[in-house]
Amino acid sequence: MARGLRCLLAALAFLASGTAVAASCCGGGGGGAPVLPKDGAVLWDLNAAVEHYHGFWAQDGRWLPDPPGARLSQYRLTPGHARRLGDRWQAYAILPLVVNRNHYSGREADTEGPGDLSLGLWYETFDEATCVYKVRRPADLRPSIYLGAGLVVPTGISPYDEVGDNFAITGRGFYRLDLSFDIEKTVYPWSVQLRLGYGRHFQRPVNREYGVYVAPYRLRLGDRRSLSLTLGYTWFLPNLAQLTLTGGYSDLREGRARIDGRLDPTTGLVRRSFSLSWAYSPAHRRWNARFSWGHAPRRDGWGENFPATDVFTLGVSHVLFL
């Protein structure tokens, strides 16, 4: 991942497992694919993230340091938009702008460009927000369930674009269909959320690598599976504003790629990480501000074929209600 591949995979990981903040349906959500609260009509979202690289995991799960003298970082500014399409339907779009700032002891390369665009739909299986303050009857335990379908569009700069070298890469170069299942429940002050994801890359022809034309072949990246689990606690401040602290764990896996139908044994990845988020919403809930820290333990067995990083994200979203 010269910075190229690093950036590319990092962008993917970011898009796949954005830090979630519990209680999306009640207006506390944010990070990753934006989710409108149940009574929200339109949402504008902006995330600024910095990701620092701290070594990587080999295919056998060993954590290894970056080369001596390396300082590798990626900055992302990600505007997002969500809009209600119907009582139970909402759509979203996010497009990160990626800035790579990486320094090796013998080479520096700073580049920037758009990342891959994510478009998606959420279907809400419920008609009213399910957040409750007290459980008085069994129906109060009903969770909010979202079913999601998303499409990653390769708008970033990939190894198969017209690029001079790997340092300029900001995207992966593949369309991907993502399906998500999201279940969450809030009984104030506690919130819990589970999100399961499955992504399938579409096969594509490749006739160029890093700007050099090669004999055409067909490439399909492996399927992706992701899981994230979060637990949040909300404080109600004297002015009725909310402050939510959320802790999370996520697991992202991608199978091996296929080249002309053959499995590529050098591909595939695993990444496990933790996150901690703070979210603040004033009483009117039209604004939401967040700060999160995502951390991948630099230990053997916490990943495979992927960099270990720390991600710090500052985000703000604005909701227009129905």
Partner: protein, 193 residues
């Protein structure tokens, strides 16, 4: 209708991004365009240029060798020199593991040299540290070298995970991503006895 929608979406995206030189991934091509590359001393079938042959490559002991010296080794003239570009990243290590464990043993007794070319370290000491951390310091049959002046990277159009195979006559036989090592194996099978 589905296709029309997709075309509309793609057109809008290309319109939005076209000015930035992007968009090839939106509608990827399967055309073989190697013939229209315009040639160059980094493409298969072309001899490597003089500057590439003379480029200094530092070893993990600080010694300097040149590609020319490897190609013209009077004691063991190679039929092929394999250059693998690394930046000590996860994919690079996965490729190196495959190269070392799968490809190299098949050709251990043949006149071929395998070089892992570090193009990011600022000194041979840093390169040595990276090679050690990745478990390849002193690996039998695998030579770790530093592209001291970045000549190979620039002249051979190098990139992370790129493999260049130069035959004994100094002609490039492969310049492509390592992928699963299949193309490298095929090229070596053609070059080696």
């Amino acid at each position: 209708m589905c296709c029309s929608f997709r075309r509309l979406l793609v057109s809008l995206l290309m319109l939005a991004l076209g000015g930035c030189g992007m968009g090839d991934d939106l509608l990827p091509s399967d055309s073989d365009l190697r013939a229209v590359s315009g040639g160059g001393a980094y493409l298969p079938g072309e001899p490597v240029g003089e500057a590439t042959r003379a480029a200094p490559l530092e070893t993990v002991d600080g010694a300097v060798v040149r590609l020319d010296e490897l190609l013209n080794d009077p004691l063991e003239p190679p039929r092929a020199v394999v250059l693998y570009f690394t930046m000590w990243c996860p994919i690079c290590l996965a490729h190196t593991d495959h190269l070392y464990n799968q490809v190299l043993p098949r050709h251990a007794s043949e006149p071929v040299r395998f070089l892992v070319v570090d193009y990011v370290s600022g000194s041979w000491v840093d390169m040595r540290g990276a090679a050690q951390a990745n478990g390849y310091l002193g690996a039998a049959g695998l030579e770790i070298v530093r592209d001291a002046e970045g000549v190979l990277f620039d002249r051979l159009h190098g990139a992370m995970g790129q493999v260049v195979v130069v035959d004994g006559e100094g002609v490039i036989r492969m310049n492509a991503s390592y992928r699963d090592g299949g193309e490298l194996e095929a090229v070596l099978d053609r070059l080696l006895p």
